[in-house]
Amino acid sequence: MKFGVVVFPGSNCDYDCYNAVKRVFKQPVEFIWHAGSKLDHFDCIILPGGFSYGDYLRTGAIARFSNIMDSVIRFARAGGLVIGICNGFQILTEAGLLPGALQRNKSLKFLCKYVHLRCESNKTPFTNKFKKGQVVRIPIAHGEGNFTVDEKTLKEIENNKQVIFRYCDEKGRVSDASNPNGSMAGIAGICNKKRNVLGMMPHPERCCEALFGSEDGKLIFRSILRKD
């Protein structure tokens, strides 16, 4: 399976994604500069974390108009797998590929720590190796991860089972105490209706090796690769 990691000016998790795919999973992977447009030969596109365009105006607002994004939108509409992590998630919402928006954390603090996530649906190409309700430990690193959406759309994405990850405690309980950033309904990750586009604030690429304190991020990549 061929992976592409899009690089925007200000991306800073691009090498982490590249490393996870190449070194941990031994899959072919290429960086794609934001000015490019060709995505035909890829199976999965990763929009990595970082601060594209310095987060000016709003996170992801300017990256969303970079040249490569027209191709990413076409790729996603044709059914290609797209995963946006952190800033990548923010870009996907700005591009309209995912509903909602990521606002400033309720605490106003930049949060960099491990959190627990509960997998709400394993019926996606990104979570098919999870058990339903499985609790994993994956780190977050963001100042603007407060998922916000209007009530009607929230109902819609809940009904369609588009909520894929929620912040929880180590036992899988979702509460205000386990919600690090004020996200509505504790939402940490969602997918689109067709389930081929996933956005999540936590960083699976940062926890694919025991040395990093958790290997739970591997489940996402193993799901994409359908590999045990």
């Binding site: 105006l57 700005e94 928006a101």
Partner: protein
């Protein structure tokens, strides 16, 4: 040349943690009258257009496309002939 002053505000009902923090700071400075603070963005744009109508059309487009995110924000704007043009024409700035 026209001068557009765009204000982007957060939609009503959404939590504005920056506003809450600033409100707290003002009250701690003794301004007990302060009941609520909201933080928005002010964006000033100089643009060329053949008349005010065209300038408005363009600014409206810019707001919809980039300057505000309709999921969480609302926008408003004022457009005037820029001071430079007004000076050349010998007119007083008008609202």
């Amino acid at each position: 040349m026209y001068n557009a002053k765009v204000t982007v505000r957060q939609k009503k009902g959404l939590l504005d943690p920056q506003g809450v923090a600033i409100g707290g700071a003002l009250r701690s400075l003794g301004y007990s009258q302060v009941s609520e603070v909201k933080v928005g963005k002010f964006i000033e744009i100089a643009l060329k257009a053949k008349d005010k109508k065209e300038a408005e059309k363009k600014v409206e487009e810019m707001c919809k496309k980039l300057l505000a995110n309709p999921v969480i924000e609302v926008y408003s704007y004022e457009i005037d002939l820029s001071a430079e043009v007004l000076t050349k024409a010998g007119e007083a700035p008008q609202k």
